[in-house]
């Protein structure tokens, strides 16, 4: 206690102003332990202090929304008495330092967020972003991250059903590892992380507490990387947690059984900021106080001091609020699952402050009757972190970037260009158990994943749920607002390919350093773009995560808002058409053919242009009314097939990265049957990317065209399926075998290069 407080608060990541605010809250100088509690709880990662102001602009409500943002997971009513919980998070910085454990503990953390709501986790998805694979470090990161997800997810027993894989220079120093989890529960079992009932007990379940992950949220997640190899960044390795999927598996089963038996009043996972976060958040939500006996916490090693115990991010721990009468029964269930259960807290009366208001205090004690080591209002930790309206400024350099449109790029070899855009992510997803629980109708590697809505303990239903994660940092770098809106439209189109209607959005906003005005501008614009698109489609945003300080050596990543969309399908008894067309089928392009704006077939932000090193240009708007009609039409066509109705439609694929040319080539690769496509109007149409267009194969062109016309949906005939080649007018002529082999081998070839 001899250190001057000024230096301690800065070492804990608190500014001088924040220190003064803490003094004002307490009416006195905080002691070291109290300061440490504020240090983690007021970190960017825990408090969203730079983004909260802007996140309020997102639409969050809807008739079917049971739980919106701010809880451990968002929850919707999916019908038939089943609620679906969904959450997305980032584990970027831990994965950059220790890829296996970083990615593994990311999976563990997201599962706890979902079963905290009483839901059994049913599936995980992982959007991943790395630098180019020509760099050996990136190959090491990819191997480590994928092994971590596989090693943890497979053993914990939750299928990984999809994700995204993006390689771009901008992630070289700061890869992104996002993880989404969806779970389901009988609607009436919904539980919230609330402490209630004075005299009730806070029971810590699961692993013992160790020195791993101390300061994870403040040291690691709320600061950038220096970018110098071996410098400060390596010293952060002890802030990465270590995961144990076997412990988590038993913890999941024990918690779900406790919830089933009705023993638990409230439950909260211990993730970022560990015990201090779980105790202060549950107490704050319940408006009560909590006494925590720091000596009661089972410890992994001797000599841990109170601040280490309170802020450790040791994995596989939960905090349950129970009545004293149920303690024995809780212990019995936990014993059966070999899960440790220890009373570490008591729910106590709130204090009454000078103005007569109830203030729930979090008191850390040395023994329940022992010395009070720290005493702070729980709400001040959980909800009252400072709120910043940081300076935002559109970078003036952007104009030159927008003016550098790639439409003047020489055409070159279209065959080679097309082949270079094809990557089958099979090497990644074959390492994931994608089938557990017998729900996976469409697994990884397609437009969207489609699951039966079934699981142990759920009411019987023939409904399905669909999931898609999407992002487009190339678009968002040019125009974060429009780019984010287009990303939402793209994701809704993906769900349509499996017949599902979008019901809710979660987001993971990965951005650079919020102290850079250009980054704050990107973040604010992206949130507005998301709000624009979600409002236009009537979609609520029911949860999210903001990951800032994604920078290395002072250079920020491209803005990377990742969206996760959850869709529902009313009746799922047959698989959707997929990408397998038959020889003789007619090929059509359904939806808006031309974008609105200066360019009908924009190439700015396209994968084709990026491969050519052209990162400039403008995005084009799309006509939302036509997009809505198109999506509704496609949903209807596919949902009918899933409900078991006969149809002339044999294949459906959304046009996205790589444009029409890549979409056709992907279908050729999967189906092993070629196609003859007439000359397109414009070379740019081959590779232009904007959402709302679908490639459809049909066995009865006239019938299909009649239905499209009746729905007021534009459609154009492209050609015919068949043969051993993909021919697109005079521009593309490739053999089916070349396309399939190149696509299949692309990722493995890149990963094995030079390593």
């Amino acid at each position: 206690m001899n250190r001057p407080p000024q230096s301690l608060h800065r070492a804990l990541g608190l500014s001088d102003d924040e220190f003064a605010q803490i003094e004002a809250v307490l009416g006195r100088e905080p002691n070291d332990l109290e300061l440490a509690l504020y240090g983690v709880m007021w970190s960017e990662h825990c408090s969203y202090k730079s983004s909260r102001l802007h996140l309020r602009r997102l639409p969050t409500t809807g008739e079917h929304v049971l739980v919106g943002p701010g809880e451990n997971a968002g929850v919707i009513d999916a019908g038939d008495g089943i609620a679906v919980a969904i959450r997305i998070e980032s584990h970027n910085h831990p994965s950059a330092i220790e890829p296996y454990q970083g990615a593994a503990t990311g999976v563990g953390g997201i599962l706890r967020d979902v079963f905290t709501m009483g839901a059994r986790p049913l599936a995980v998805m992982d959007p991943l972003f790395f630098g180019e694979l020509s760099d050996a470090r990136q190959r090491w990161l990819v191997e480590g991250v994928v092994s971590g997800i596989s090693g943890y997810g497979n053993s914990v027993g939750v299928p990984t059903i999809g994700g995204e894989l993006t390689f771009d220079e901008c992630y070289s120093g700061n890869p992104l590892v996002n993880v989404l989890c969806v779970g389901a529960l009988p609607t009436e079992r919904l539980v919230l992380g609330i402490a209630s009932g004075v005299g009730n007990l806070a029971v810590l379940l699961g692993s013992r507490t160790g020195r791993d992950g101390i300061g994870g949220v403040s040291v690691l997640a709320s600061a950038g990387f220096s970018g110098e190899e071996g410098a400060l960044d390596d010293a952060k390795r002890p802030s990465v947690q270590v995961g144990d999927p076997y412990e988590e598996k038993r913890l999941i089963e024990a918690c779900l059984e406790l919830l089933d038996r009705g023993y638990v009043l409230g439950i909260q996972d211990l993730g970022g900021a560990g015990l201090v976060c779980a105790t202060s958040e549950t107490a704050a939500r319940g408006g009560v106080g909590m006494d925590v006996d720091v000596t009661a916490v089972p410890q992994r090693e001797p000599g841990m001091v109170p601040y280490e115990i309170m802020t450790s991010e040791s994995q596989e721990r939960m905090l349950a609020i129970i009545t004293p009468e149920n303690l024995e029964a809780v212990r019995e269930v936990c014993e059966r699952w070999e899960v440790r259960a220890t009373v570490v807290g008591h729910v106590v009366e709130p204090l009454i402050d000078d103005d007569g208001n109830e203030v729930g205090m979090l008191r850390i004690r040395d023994g329940f009757d022992g010395e009070v080591l720290a005493e702070v209002p729980a709400r001040s930790l959980a909800d009252e972190a400072p709120l910043y309206d940081r300076t935002r400024e559109r970078p003036s350099s952007l104009d030159a970037v927008l003016d550098d449109d790639p439409s003047n790029e020489p055409v070159g070899s279209t065959n080679e260009d097309l082949l270079s855009l094809l990557v089958d992510p099979g090497w990644v997803y074959r390492q994931y158990d994608s089938q557990l629980f017998l729900n996976t109708v469409v697994g990884p590697g397609r437009d969207a994943a489609l699951l039966r809505l079934a699981g142990p303990g759920l009411p019987v239903s023939t409904r399905g749920i669909a999931l898609s994660t999407d992002s487009n940092p190339r678009w968002c770098a040019l125009d974060p607002r429009l780019g984010t809106a287009l990303t939402i439209y793209e994701s809704v189109a993906n769900l349509a390919c499996v017949g599902a209607t979008a019901k809710a959005v979660v987001n993971c906003l990965n951005f650079g350093n919020p102290e850079h005005p250009s980054v704050m501008w990107q973040l604010s614009e992206a949130i507005d773009g998301m709000a624009d698109a979600c409002s236009a489609l009537g979609l609520p945003v029911i949860g999210g995560n903001v990951s800032l300080y994604n920078e290395s050596g002072g250079v920020d990543i491209d803005p990377t808002p990742v969206v996760g969309l959850l869709g529902v399908l009313d009746h799922l008894v047959a698989p959707p058409p997929g990408w397998n067309w038959r020889a003789g089928d007619a090929l059509v392009l359904v939806g808006v053919r031309r974008a609105v704006g200066e360019r009908s077939f924009p190439l700015g932000g396209s994968r084709w242009a990026t491969r050519r090193g052209r990162r400039g240009g403008r995005l084009s708007e799309i006509e939302v009314s036509t997009l809505r009609a198109t999506i509704d039409f496609v949903v209807g066509e596919v949902a009918g097939i899933c409900a078991g109705m006969a149809s002339d439609v044999t294949a459906v694929h959304d046009v996205s990265g790589g444009g029409i040319a890549a979409a056709l080539a992907e279908m050729v690769a999967v189906t092993s049957v070629g196609a003859q496509v007439a000359e397109l109007d414009d070379f740019a149409e081959l590779f232009s990317e904007f959402p709302g267009r679908f490639i459809v194969a049909t066995g009865d062109l006239d019938a299909f065209a009649t239905r499209a016309a009746a729905a007021g949906v534009p459609m154009v005939s492209l050609g015919t399926c068949g043969g051993e080649r993909l021919v697109i007018g005079s521009t593309v002529d490739l053999s089916v075998d070349d396309i399939a082999a190149t696509r299949r081998g692309a990722l493995e070839a890149a990963l094995s290069a030079l390593s």
């Binding site: 144990d244 076997y246 598996k249 557990l436 017998l438």
Partner: protein
């Protein structure tokens, strides 16, 4: 009605899938905890997939010491039908109820993918209803699925028709392309592929049905 016990070890994760699989064929199935010492009253026992006891040390190495395994051994001895799927196959080899062992895949990567199998013997409780040479598409989902055994054992297995399923294209380096095998009496079987994941065309394949139908079929004990 055939009564099937599905054993749950801490760390098992395919228990509900196995349960659902045999229930969909009309069997009466129930989950039994690994501390169970009595399997009387059951007609068949399934050791499901997953990571029993976290697969610590190596897959199946700890599970063989679970109390239920003595009961499984007696049950097998009495001629009861015992089926080990994936991790369950690993447990059966560790427990000495099936010969050989399963080691890490040749590619040193976890593999979840469909495989095509050939039925190479119908002298087992799992393949009795299948036809010799029948091809079945059934997914695998494992890190340690490469079957190994010594030359003598392999010759014995080959000679006695104990190799019941082989991969058409070997995904994991298994000796003799072995995907599944039976003991000499044919009442204890283990396989790495997951027949319970191939019960419906909605999920990609219904080829696992013929195997589980064999398993749950009423029979006189061998």
């Amino acid at each position: 009605m055939t009564r099937i016990a599905v054993v749950v070890f801490p760390g098992s994760n395919c228990e509900y899938d196995a349960l659902t699989g045999v229930e969909s064929l009309g069997a009466d199935a129930e989950l039994v905890w690994h501390s169970t010492k009595d399997l009387s009253g059951f007609d068949g026992v399934i050791l499901p997939g997953g990571f029993a006891h976290g697969d610590y040390l190596r897959p199946g190495a700890l599970a063989r010491f679970s109390p239920v395994m003595d009961a499984v051994a007696r049950f097998a001895e009495d001629g009861g039908a015992v089926l080990g799927i994936c991790n369950g196959f690993q447990v059966l080899t560790e427990a000495g109820l099936l010969p050989g062992a399963l080691q890490k895949n040749a590619g040193l990567k976890f593999l979840c993918q469909p495989t095509t199998l050939t039925v190479t013997s119908t002298d087992s409780i799992l393949t009795a209803n299948a036809t010799l040479g029948q091809e079945l598409v059934i997914p695998i989902n494992h890190f340690s699925g490469a079957y190994v055994c010594d030359d003598e054992t392999l010759a014995r297995l080959e000679g006695s028709g104990q190799i019941i399923l082989r991969y058409v294209e070997n995904p994991n380096g298994s000796r003799g392309n072995i995907a599944g095998l039976a003991n000499e009496r044919g009442n204890v079987v283990g396989l790495m592929p997951h027949p319970e994941r191939a019960m419906s065309t909605l999920l990609g394949s219904a080829d696992g049905r013929v195997l589980l139908e064999s398993f749950v079929a009423p029979r006189v004990r061998a």
